[in-house]
Amino acid sequence: MRETVFQRVFAFVVGWGVAILLFFPIAWMVLTSFKSEVDAITPRLTFTPTLSSYAEVLSRADYLSFALNSVVVSVGGTVLALLFAIPAAYSMAFHPTQRTRGTLLWMLSTKMLPPVGVLVPIYILARDSALLDTRTVLVIMYALANLPIVVWMLFTFYKEVPKDILEAGRMDGARTVSEVWYLLLPLTLPGVASTGLLSLILCWNEAFWSLNLTTSSAAPLTAFIASFSSPQGLFFAKLSAASTMAVAPILVFGWFSQRQLVRGLTFGAVK
């Protein structure tokens, strides 16, 4: 009994300690975003909060266009990936053939291709088809890069629909269309939603293709934030404000979908 009390106190202290330590940089960023530039360069906790950095970042017309680019390429990449993945996962989960297993593993292996390995040809292909610095090229790249993960995650969700339920539906008189509409869709909607969410998060945070294939007009927030790295862009408060706005929505998404993320990120190997 004494041991468990000690364990609980230990867990509480270390657990919260670690959590606060890990979260500190994010908290500090949010804090700094409410400082003035002068306060920002002194690492102090006391300051007069101001929204001036947010106002300034937002007043730059291009900030909104970067944010819009992020939204468009993330949603676009996710929707495109889902369009291909939903039929593929459905087919492999409900109409498996002898090749299904091999196909799944092969899809997984395409995710292993390191982006730098194919940077050169992709860059040249994009240049030659006049797609450099367009949203289109990012949508395509994100859809392709995430397709294996999306297929896998959907597949594991579809696999969880008990065969019995579909058979019960068929006994109840459901044909293909009513089976999909009344049973599959409602049963797998949460799975499709969390898959889409994972894909959104991955697209939103992607920072290889966005840095290499876009320069200005199609650059999403990852690339915009990177522009703060030049010495003349050293405005801590504005960097923090822009970063906070770029991170906040996805952070909230992430909090709500932790468990499903595990499944997607480990290709169903850990649930």
Partner: protein, 367 residues
Amino acid sequence: MATLTLRDLRKSYGPAHVIKGIDLDVLEREFVVFVGPSGCGKSTLLRMIAGLEDITSGELQIDGRRVNDVGPADRGLAMVFQSYALYPHMTVRQNMGFALRLARVPKAERDRKVNEAARILQLEPYLERRPKDLSGGQRQRVAIGRSIVRDPKVFLFDEPLSNLDAALRGQMRMELLRLHEDLNATMIYVTHDQVEAMTMADKIVVLQAGLVEQVGSPLELYHHPTNLFVAGFIGSPRMNLMPARVVEVTGSGVTVALPSGGQVTVPTSASGVRQGDTITLGVRPEGLHVDSAGQIAGEVKLVERLGGLTLLHVTSGVDLALTVQIEGSDATRAHETVHLSIDTAACHLFDKAGLALPRLVRHPMAA
């Protein structure tokens, strides 16, 4: 209500033959139980009837009409699954009304039928709940209710009670029988539990390795098993089997020598066995009696007292294990030596191929 006819029904997955030619007639309002060890093909056979598995060859008729190529939705059958297979995103009411909704039955009639089924199954308080908020027994009822509302030609049950605990199982057995009586329905029921088969069936179909071993009423199978497999499978505790040698064959029976010495004359027809043949003698636990003048001597290894009845596990000779059923009031204790007599009228003989020698007198309960 409907009749069902199976003619040389077969099923194979590639080179693997699962169902190897089954003929069967299911009469109107009959309660038919498919029973057999796991892997015997009983569930596959049920699913072929349901339309969930293709029929490789042979013919399946419902009311005399060939339905091999009719989809499960159009056969007019209802099935209760082992897992219940309730739709988790629908309420009990929606679950039960789903088939009617698909069939575009007007809402008023749908509600009337669902309410009626809920009343029969005492589900009225739960109609707006979802399956996850129900107990195992309640889910079971919903699954049954879902099939009742459709007023199907035949009810199919795939081991519906195996996920319930023992007490609930006994209760549901009774309820299903009551339902069968109330609905006047044709039912086919799959189980591996011979107690369920014995207690519920009008007709039992014993299956093994994709073939029918025997079809008959419960007591027919109990008293006149046609072969060793059925003899061993039906009845609990199991029939005692011992090797014996044919001494004499006459018109009134076959006399055999027991391994423990002594002879018994069993009233069966000869059916081709001759003097000197080795043969298997079968006798159920209630066919053995503790009797100081008995021919078989053995040591009581274990006593199972069930209250009204007591089971003695006796070892005779080197390794002949026998189960004897005696009155609960009998005071025989473990490690005593007992003598057992055999009720010859209750004996069965099986030839080398395992086939029973037909008994000369039909048991009155197994007409």
